[in-house]
Symmetry: C2
């Protein structure tokens, strides 16, 4: 099973690494970290992760995962990335995104008429691509799977493993990564946070654009 993560400068590190850590454990997974131009990709917090292969050399992935970014203008302007997504999507078993990665799927024309999610602050922007925004953490629509903001890629990947390899294998991976989350606060969604926290988070996100 060939799994391709589409990297680019400005991606958010955890958007990539959350699902990567899970999907790399799929039985028979062959994982590629790929980009339009291979080499070091600088994430939006500064960390550099290596894209080891060119997207154009991967023509028949089974699973594609597009991470998001705090600066979506960067991947949205990458015509080669969008063209590659359009080209390979027809043959994938699953095409997936995390966070604003769904805007990239949208810009590639893959979300027309589909239900999809994204980071809470980007959810409405999905309409611009003909998608129907859904405020769930993970949204399946046909072969397309979209996840909400940043950390949601872990939940998405485990759900995907459940569909591909069965619930028990997903549980094995969950236990290996000891994914028994116990957040010390309960402010992970706009409806759970105080107005002041929502305002500050919005400010942080808009300042990063």
């Amino acid at each position: 099973m060939e799994i391709v993560f589409a990297l680019y400068d400005d991606m958010t590190a955890l958007d990539l690494v959350g699902p990567y850590q899970v999907l790399a454990m799929l039985p028979d997974a062959r994982v590629s970290l790929a980009a339009t131009t291979p080499g070091r990709k600088r994430t939006d917090s500064g960390m550099a992760i290596e894209a080891e292969v060119a997207l154009r050399d991967l023509t028949a992935p089974d699973i594609v995962v597009v991470p998001g970014t705090g600066r979506p203008q960067s991947p949205l302007a990458d015509a080669s990335l969008l063209e590659w997504l359009r080209a390979v999507h027809g043959g994938t078993t699953w095409t997936a995104s995390v966070c604003t990665g769904s805007l990239v799927l949208g810009a590639a024309g893959l979300l027309e008429g589909r239900r999809a999610t994204s980071h809470w602050l980007a959810l409405e922007a999905l309409r611009g691509f003909g998608a129907e925004p859904v405020g769930d953490r993970v949204v399946f629509d046909g072969r397309i799977v979209t996840a909400a903001g940043v950390s949601s890629g872990i939940d998405m990947a485990l759900a995907l493993v459940g569909r591909i390899a069965g619930a028990e294998t997903a549980q094995v991976i969950q236990l290996v990564i000891e994914y028994d989350p116990q957040p010390p606060f309960d402010a992970g969604a706009p409806g759970k946070a105080t107005p002041q926290v929502v305002a500050r988070a919005t400010q942080v996100l808009q300042a990063a654009l």
Copy 2:
């Protein structure tokens, strides 16, 4: 506030990137990804992450975070890493680990007589370093903070931000990364998984050693 992540070959990607994504958002954070020898570090799932600076050039970090690995023999044999940890720990505000990173803190002599946690399969190994194993997800003992397996680094980092910058700032970061976990299965701890899942997870982990 100077935050140093201690990288090494064979580290687990999510052990590093979970707390990195959170702590990099601390107000006034200066984050360094450092290693005994700078350069690309290959994680235990294959992904390469760049260590941009040498540990020896960072002599006064405020926070140190040591990620874990499925192959702890690698960092445990890195005498320079252990020596650096011993040298800087006296001056840190917080010295932290994720997963088997606590074994590395232990090998550096920092856990003598202290309560600490680790990946569930490595918990008992803490006794070899004079520590008292505690099966909690995040354990604070003085200036030392240890987290359980892999994904627990996110919870640990949010708890740390709460202590450093207050609950509201931690909640802002939680909302920015939309950390509202909804695992599709409930098998993230040995006590929650079936015996068959525990057996398979143990096999996966032991095969990686």
